[in-house]
């Protein structure tokens, strides 16, 4: 880590150079994922065999510079990465949101109901958590036709259990607070108590948790793409670009390696950003995890 620390506007909150760099990369990932396809063109069908397997920084026939080189049919790797960022971002966010919604629902239900309902639900969570999520994703993908939606649902299915466990713990702890008991005593409806007394306790830990989940989902999406179990061929994916570079390791190392480097930078940056988030939102929230 760089020794120099820049103090930010928030008192007691200092960002190191690396942290600022990470936040910058996260912002860049968001911008490219959202706006990239509007800024650069990429037509998967437009091949140019004369320009195939050109190393990075080559100037192409049309005068453009292929920053990440070209693939086996002459398409620019960098453009594929930009389009892949959109899928990565889309799958990451929708999967995380789906997993969060379902996990919170089950976790709060379990924590609220207690007794046997809680035991049964948490046993299911424990069983699922005994399996690595990539294995569950592969098991599910084995039977489902690959599509953008199925990838999103599969990855949400693999991540909800962690959320449910955290949500249950926080709900159970909230229920022992006097203000929740006071609300129960005064006969308030379950929905209102959950909305006013329990969910507010959940947002910050959930936000921190989901930042970690986001990077895990991005990794999982890339892995499924690599295994050929991810999004269909016409939807560009980081994992598939790397997979397509496997056969050209000997003569075109950049196809497999450079997109992977992008994944590493994005995932590590999200991890660092999550750490900054955790620090800013207070260690009390982190303790809940």
């Amino acid at each position: 880590m760089a020794a120099t620390a820049f103090s930010s506007r928030v008192p007691g909150m200092r960002l190191t150079f690396c942290e600022m760099l990470a936040l910058g990369f996260v912002a860049l990932f968001f911008v490219v994922g959202l706006a990239g396809p509007y800024l650069v063109d990429f037509n998967p069908a437009a091949t140019d065999t004369a320009m195939r397997l050109k190393p990075p920084m080559t100037t192409l026939a049309n005068g453009a510079i292929a920053w990440f080189g070209t693939d086996a049919v002459g398409r620019e790797v960098a453009r594929q990465v930009i389009y892949g960022a959109r899928v990565s971002l889309l799958v990451g966010f929708t999967s995380a949101a789906l997993a969060a919604a379902f996990g919170v629902l089950i976790g709060v239900w379990a924590g609220w109901a207690g007794r046997r309902t809680e035991q049964v639900l948490m046993r299911i969570v424990d069983i699922q958590l005994a399996f690595p999520s990539i294995l569950i994703a592969v098991f599910l993908a084995a039977f489902i036709q690959p599509s953008l939606l199925s990838v999103i649902v599969i990855l949400a299915v693999t991540r909800w259990a962690v959320v449910a466990r955290v949500a249950r713990a926080i709900t159970a702890r909230s229920l022992t607070r006097s203000y929740v008991e006071a609300a129960i005593i005064s006969g308030e409806s379950t929905l209102r108590i959950v909305r006013d007394c329990i969910l507010p306790n959940l947002w910050i830990p959930l936000l921190i948790l989901m930042s970690a989940e986001l990077s895990l989902i991005i990794l999982a999406e890339a892995s499924l793409g690599f295994l050929g179990l991810g999004t269909p061929i016409d939807v560009p994916s980081w994992g598939r670009i790397i997979s397509s570079g496997r056969n050209y390791l000997a003569n075109a190392w950049w196809i497999a390696t450079l997109p992977g480097l992008v994944i590493v930078v994005v995932v590590v940056s999200i991890g660092v950003a999550g750490e900054v988030l955790r620090r800013r939102l207070g260690s009390g929230a982190g303790a809940a995890l």
Partner: protein
């Protein structure tokens, strides 16, 4: 203790049954006729007719499930449409390769993570600790399939000192094992570090220090033992991660294990083998979790009495 083992065994069995039921449901959800899903598109009409009777597809759905459960627990998953022999035989053979890779990886993880974690704890907040912490963070952000490709590129293509694929010589295991081990080393190192820091800051160690016991003795006699137990508890979960990683790493390195078999069977829509793989992998995860749980209870005297 017997009640505990009983309830754990019940859990393990329930998990396995749940996995089989989930597979059954997935086969029904999968588009197309379940028979074609089970037999593959190449099946002859005779085979289809025979399978309909064998799987009871003309009977009510719950009977179909019972028949399916019965078949799964007698390891009867049918023949592979690609290789033409019982799927369970193929999978049993592959399991050996995966377990070999797993054992080698575990040895690597323990050999690297324990000393590194201990060192990081002893030099808590010094450069070594910070460097390893940051490295761990980066390692955990690296996709394992990509790491594998980079290793192939560097050690097999450029330096040409290790084989890139298959299991042709003993050295074939090095690259897949290292790829699998790296993220696990990062996790376990941090775990070991945190536990060891906890023990080093405990009153017990402070007293031992005050009494003049040398650091080396404190570490070997007290810190190591107390820090190791919590690290062992997550062993079961980590085996699961190992198996998950194996699916990808075996595919990258062409290691003839369960993971590679599963992925290629999915590619060929060879569902007999897919089901056999899912069953065996679930069984392995469940069995290892059970064994770790049970073993942990035997080791930790605080839990033995419960």
């Amino acid at each position: 203790m017997i009640g505990y083992v009983g309830s754990r065994l019940f859990n393990a069995a329930a998990t396995l049954v749940a996995a089989v039921i989930a597979t059954f449901i997935m086969i029904r959800i999968a588009p197309g006729d379940p028979v074609l899903v089970l037999l593959g598109d190449l099946a002859t009409p005779d085979q289809i007719a025979a399978a309909r009777i064998e799987y009871g597809l003309d009977r009510p759905i719950y009977e179909q499930l019972l028949i399916y459960l019965g078949k799964a627990f007698t390891l009867d998953f049918g023949n592979s449409i690609i290789q033409g022999r019982p799927a369970v035989d193929i999978v049993a053979q592959r399991m050996l390769a995966t377990l070999t890779l797993g054992a080698f990886t575990f040895a690597l993880v323990i050999a690297a993570a324990l000393p590194l974690g201990l060192l990081a704890a002893l030099y808590h907040d010094r450069w070594f600790d910070k460097a390893t912490s940051n490295t761990s963070l980066v390692v955990l952000g690296i996709p394992d399939f990509w790491l594998g490709l980079v290793f192939i590129l560097v050690f097999a293509r450029w330096m040409q000192i290790l084989p890139s694929s298959g299991w042709s010589s003993p050295s074939s295991i090095v690259l897949p094992a290292v790829t699998l081990a790296l993220p696990l080393i990062a996790v376990n190192m941090q775990l070991m570090r945190n536990e060891a820091i906890g023990v080093l800051n405990s009153n017990m160690v402070k007293i031992l220090r005050a009494k003049g016991m040398p650091t080396s003795r404190i570490v070997s006699h007290h810190v190591l033992r107390n820090a190791l137990l919590p690290v062992l508890t997550v062993g079961g979960v980590q085996f699961g991660h190992l198996l998950g990683g194996a699916v990808i790493v075996e595919t990258v390195f062409g290691w003839p294990g369960l993971g590679k078999e599963l992925i290629s069977a999915i590619g060929y829509r060879d569902y007999a083998v897919v089901q056999a793989c899912i069953f065996i992998m679930t069984f392995l995860v469940v069995a290892v979790n059970f064994a770790v749980d049970f073993g942990y209870r035997l080791i930790d005297p605080r839990l033995r009495r419960v």
